[in-house]
């Protein structure tokens, strides 16, 4: 092995740190967003007009927020494919409570609590009964989706009370969804990177058995991840429910796929153990920006899903090549 055996000086460490940032998934995504804005903005200046940028960010911030929780779940070595259905259910719950005259605060907070309860149930089955999360959440997907349509019949919820539209508020003249997206991403990133619990999540996802032998509780870690994820899904649901003045009480089609795509394109390894929530938020923005750009360069927006698919394959391929290089360098 030709690895240098010298103790590294602080200077070298800083340089190594900078090099890592420059080559990171986050930086690549950031550059992609910038390049996209510049190129499409040159072709059609209306693309970068404030109005359109707002619609890119506002309409998709809830996806970024849900992708934060999803990224944590995937980093821990699990997955939740019921997330789209859960957002549908929680948005309907929130709207119904508001229409039924409950205090607005209750209609905002109830989805967080119920979301955490649902994901805690998934987490319990995964952590204590050792059921694979993909199967548990597949079952949950059907239960929620079927239950929702049976109860509501897919009706529109209208006549939402004044003051309910959280996502349309603009404290300090910055739209609320952007506040949520930025603050939650930074908060979650710090939590994942600097707390002992965050470290445990990476450890369990990287090698559950080795983590257990090191005295880290796999059960507690997985329960924590799922409950935190549920809270994020709850917040995403409220943003989703309050962005328009009506709520359709069905499950938005393919929502879980968009959210999982954001995580994967954001650099979260589907095998667990690596990735960051900053990456998944940037990826959510990139996906939204691509979707909007198609319209402005005159491509049918139906291509968006295909583009997302290509992005997944490119990201995973790039990751694979990087791993192969590392493996060979041994």
């Amino acid at each position: 092995m030709a690895a240098a055996a010298l103790p590294s000086a602080p200077g070298r460490r800083l340089l190594g740190g900078l090099r890592r940032i420059a080559g990171s998934q986050e930086m690549v995504l950031f550059l992609c967003i910038v390049i996209l804005l510049v190129v499409v903005g040159t072709i059609n200046p209306r693309y970068v007009a404030e109005r359109n940028l707002h619609s890119i960010f506002l309409g998709n911030a809830y996806i970024a927020v849900a992708a934060i929780g999803m990224s944590m779940v995937i980093i821990s070595g699990n997955i939740d494919i019921s997330v789209g259905s859960l957002i549908g259910v929680l948005a309907t719950l929130s709207g119904s409570l508001a229409v039924d005259g409950y205090p607005i605060l209750v209609s905002w907070l109830a989805p967080l609590v119920v979301g955490a309860m649902v994901t805690a149930f998934i987490g319990f089955l995964v952590a204590y009964l050792r059921m694979p999360s993909i199967v548990v959440s597949l079952g949950m997907l059907s239960i929620l989706k079927g239950g929702l349509i049976s109860v509501t019949g897919g009706a529109w919820i209208t006549n939402l009370p004044v003051g309910y539209a959280l996502a349309q508020m603009r404290p300090l003249s910055i739209p609320m969804p952007i506040w949520f997206m930025v603050v939650l991403t930074i908060g979650a990133a710090l939590w994942m990177r600097y707390t002992a619990t965050g470290r445990a999540i990476y450890a369990v996802g990287g090698n559950a058995e080795a983590a257990r032998v090191s005295g880290i509780s796999r059960r507690r870690t997985i329960m924590t991840v799922f409950i935190v994820h549920g809270v994020f899904v709850g917040i995403a649901s409220v943003l989703f429910a309050t962005q328009l003045s009506v709520i359709q009480s069905t499950v938005p089609p393919n929502l879980e796929l968009t959210i999982i795509t954001a995580s994967v394109v954001g650099g979260v390894s589907i095998l667990g153990g690596t990735g960051t929530v900053i990456g998944s938020t940037l990826a959510a923005i990139l996906l939204a920006a691509i979707g909007s750009s198609l319209i402005f360069v005159g491509i049918s927006p139906y291509w968006l899903r295909a583009v997302q698919g290509f992005l997944i394959l490119i990201t995973v391929l790039a990751d694979l090549i990087r791993r192969r290089r590392q493996a060979r360098a041994r």
Partner: protein, 504 residues
Amino acid sequence: MQAVLELDDISKSFPGVQALDRVHFNVRAGEVHALLGENGAGKSTLIKIVSGVYQPDSGRVLLNGRAVRFESPRAAHAAGIATIFQELLLFPQLTVAENIFMGHAPRTRFGAIDWGAMRTRAEEILASLDIHGLDVSRDVGALTVGNRQRVEIAKALSQNARILIMDEPTAALAEADVLHLFRIVRLLRERGVSIVYISHRLEEVFQLADRVTVLRDGAFVGSRQVAETSRGELINMMVGRTISNLFPKLDAEIGEPVLEVKDLQGPPLFHDVSLQLRAGEVVGLAGLVGSGRSEVAQAIFGIKPADAGEIRVSGQRVRIASPGQAKRLGIAYVPEDRGTQGLIRPMRLRENVSLAVLRQVARGWFVDRRAETELADRSIRQLDIRASGPEQLVAKLSGGNQQKVVLGKWLAAKPRVLLMDEPTRGVDIGAKSEIHRLMSGLAQSGLAVLMISSELPEIMGMSDRILVMREGTIVAEFARATATQEAIAAAMMSEQAAPVAASA
């Protein structure tokens, strides 16, 4: 004698690493040629070139005097070169016969697989290797490691291999299986098959090989006739420095009992196990693979708690139901398999080292980065880990350095009792003697160490006391002064097998 395979001036580099630098290597018909070198010396790259997995950047490969270039493993197979890698490449859900004839099954006139002929020929091949009592209709997944390896050898022969490359074939084998493997290797040599044999165990080289070639840091150091060389010379060639004593156990003051285990029961794996570890003491736990050694250690550490029995730490009776509890009682465990139970590969060295003490290096909720980096730096210095620094991903380290990271993680927890399961398996000789030196130093500082090992010289060299397990229980105890390899081996293998054991 004519060389059947000759490698001339072979070089191969990977991004950032010169894996092989103008290496020479040749194999004659009907010889066992050992390939020695520390981890990272280039042995694996060399055999991957011979077996067609890699292609050399420069240099020539001559097969029976003719220059060849293997573009794929298939091309190497076709030329009569078979390789048995450390991780056996078998299909567990298929039968022995199906595995042996994978890819070249005998066919009937109509092109269908001729199952009858396949079984018969599989049986013939196994019999020709003096392997009996192995049912060719059984699934490979149900076989022991030793038997699986025999299936791999049979598979190589079914393709008429003239050159057989074996990468650390004894690493995962129990002693009895090792002896059987040696018989097979000698049988093949008599039939004119050339064998390239990679091993970390010098004893095996002297027992088995005709010639030996040593690589160091990707370069050719030399080839010797085994009859004309010595242990000392080979070790010198491998590490480029003199190691006077492989196992430098220093005397330590032996104090009070720290860990006492009484009548531990964990059927069917072990029963009635009692042992005692005192401060400053290294206790060697010998026994064949499958004798219950690892299971006892895992029971003490709470990975698979025992059904019954008593464990005392510093005289206090304790219950250990999880590794977390064991950790809080001051017990540490360096597992046999660092890949599954030791390392978190996608993580950095710093994060691996602090894993067992996350709560201690955390201030409130947050991990104290600076304390953590200091901890990693200290481990790197104390254990002489060859890494670019605390931020290096552990997956990129060599085996010996990975093992040191696992050890560093547990030393960070400042344990009173250290359980080590095969602490130097798959580790090169340089790192091995460093790990031994460390264990010795730890014992001197008052740690109680239980060392499980399959290598008798290691057991003999490191232990103050030696316990021997057989069939799930402790059957013998030796003091350092009175232990002999023969006596330990006899206890391990049961009395009847003792004469065989003495030669192992």
